[in-house]
């Protein structure tokens, strides 16, 4: 099945993925965080004990489902290709940047779109940074940026990450070894089976449609091609309709309960780092889970970097806090980005510039 030969089919792929997000939000995932790759990787890292923030520990079946969904559909449709060898450690670093930037903003590009659809103006502000970040990445591409080519490798190599994900699923279902939050965002989740099925469906459709949030803007800037943006647009519309219909649409900056903050500069810079790193790495956090599922060991390294970046974001106090309502005084307590997080974002942006403008195509020949 080719989902990419018409904009209508691409739009349908976006609608299906949007409906998956709607279902997960309806059945228990945190408000305004129906499906967030960075947050869910952070939760899964917490479940594995990579960080000790007790409110964000839960092995999210959505992440497991995304990788396995992409793996299964790519094997079935004979698109599975085990590849590796394109600057793996640099990609690991870019994975860390993708998640650190996301956790300073409080959401990956997918959650940014979901937050935008709920009227969260902070996400609209962050979109400016994301577009500028992608734009800077495009400039690096035009200047000859390259991490070198990947090569075909042993078939087992590409299957390692899907197997590891399956292992996490087994641990979650059959043992009590994994940590699980009793309060906070980590304690809010749809039933496991629903989350897993949602992840599998989302992963399969994302693989067939090549859904990518950074790629959609890159293609518009670079080639005036709106194919990938069609998928994102239709997902946004589905979530917008859901939020309006259920009374979850609040057109405002300070919205307690949606896990967001209003430090505009850091919302912009956080997503700037994400957009820039995503173009250099060849995809947004979602896209790397999908590419890893269809056999790319380079993307598996990026995913590993995202797990470590998520753990560091909490162990080193980099992640932002969301605006919340004080239960006792009923006062709104503004969310904020800690100093460590601000320094980390600056470092991430500097690293992106170094990677983007010192890895040239000619060096790979």
């Amino acid at each position: 099945m080719n989902l990419s030969d018409s904009k209508m089919k691409l739009a349908i792929a976006g609608i299906v993925c949007g409906l998956v997000a709607v279902c997960l939000a309806y059945f228990g995932n945190p408000a305004n965080m129906a499906f967030c790759i960075a947050c869910f990787i952070r939760d899964t890292a917490g479940a594995l004990g990579l960080h000790s923030t007790e409110t964000v520990q839960y092995a999210r079946p959505e992440i497991i489902g995304l990788v396995l969904g992409a793996f299964i559909i790519s094997v079935v449709t004979k698109e599975y290709r085990s590849t590796a060898g394109s600057s793996p450690v640099t990609r690991f670093v870019l994975g860390m940047i993708l998640v650190i930037g996301s956790l300073v903003f409080l959401g990956c590009p997918l959650r940014m779109i979901i937050r935008m659809s709920a009227g969260d103006l902070n996400a609209w502000v962050a979109l400016i940074g994301f577009i500028l970040g992608v734009g800077t990445g495009v400039i690096a591409l035009k200047k000859g940026f390259s991490l070198g080519r990947a090569h075909l490798t042993n078939r087992m190599s590409g299957g390692a990450l899907p197997v590891l994900m399956l292992g996490i699923l087994v641990l979650a279902l059959a043992t009590t070894l994994l940590k699980s939050s009793e309060s906070g965002p980590g304690s809010m989740h749809a039933p496991i089976i629903l989350s897993l099925i949602g992840g599998l469906i989302f992963g399969a459709f994302a693989q067939k449609s090549r859904m990518c949030f950074a790629g959609s803007i890159r293609d518009v800037i670079l080639m005036k091609n709106f194919d990938l943006l069609t998928i994102i647009g239709s997902l946004f519309v589905v979530m917008l309709i859901y939020n309006i219909a259920t009374g979850n649409f609040t057109f405002a900056f300070d919205t307690p309960g949606v896990i967001a903050h209003s430090e505009h500069l850091w919302n912009i810079l956080g997503m700037y780092a994400v957009g820039f790193a995503a173009v250099l790495a060849g995809g947004c956090p979602l896209r790397h889970l999908i590419l890893a599922g269809q056999g790319s060991s380079d993307s598996a390294m990026t995913v590993a970097g995202m797990f470590i970046g998520a753990a560091l974001a909490h162990n080193l106090g980099l992640a932002a806090s969301g605006t919340a309502l004080n239960a006792e005084t009923q006062e709104v307590v503004a969310g904020s980005v800690p100093l460590n997080g601000k320094i980390a974002v600056i470092i991430c942006i500097v690293v992106c510039f170094v990677i983007g403008f010192f890895n040239k195509r000619s060096e790979n020949k």
Partner: protein, 78 residues
């Protein structure tokens, strides 16, 4: 709606090679444009160079002159 016709699509191992191809073609006057790699060719999300069928030799010449390595050359309805 634009009528689809058979085109030459050159794919590359890296995005940088595709960008180098664009630059080479612009400088030598070889017609064509960058496109996302057609989905029927690859599940990846790289870039490809799309040109009229008649440009096959000119494209090969431009790539040889600039040291650009192609992954493959396809004929697609675009």
């Amino acid at each position: 709606m634009r009528k689809k016709e058979l085109k030459l699509v050159v794919t590359f191992h890296t995005t940088a090679d595709a960008m180098a191809m664009e630059k080479a073609c612009r400088e030598t006057g070889v017609p064509g444009r960058l496109i996302p790699v057609p989905r029927e060719i690859s599940a990846g999300c790289g870039l490809a160079w799309c040109a009229p069928l008649a440009q096959r030799e000119h494209l090969a010449g431009a790539m040889a002159e600039r040291g650009i390595e192609q992954e493959n050359m396809h004929e697609c309805m675009l």
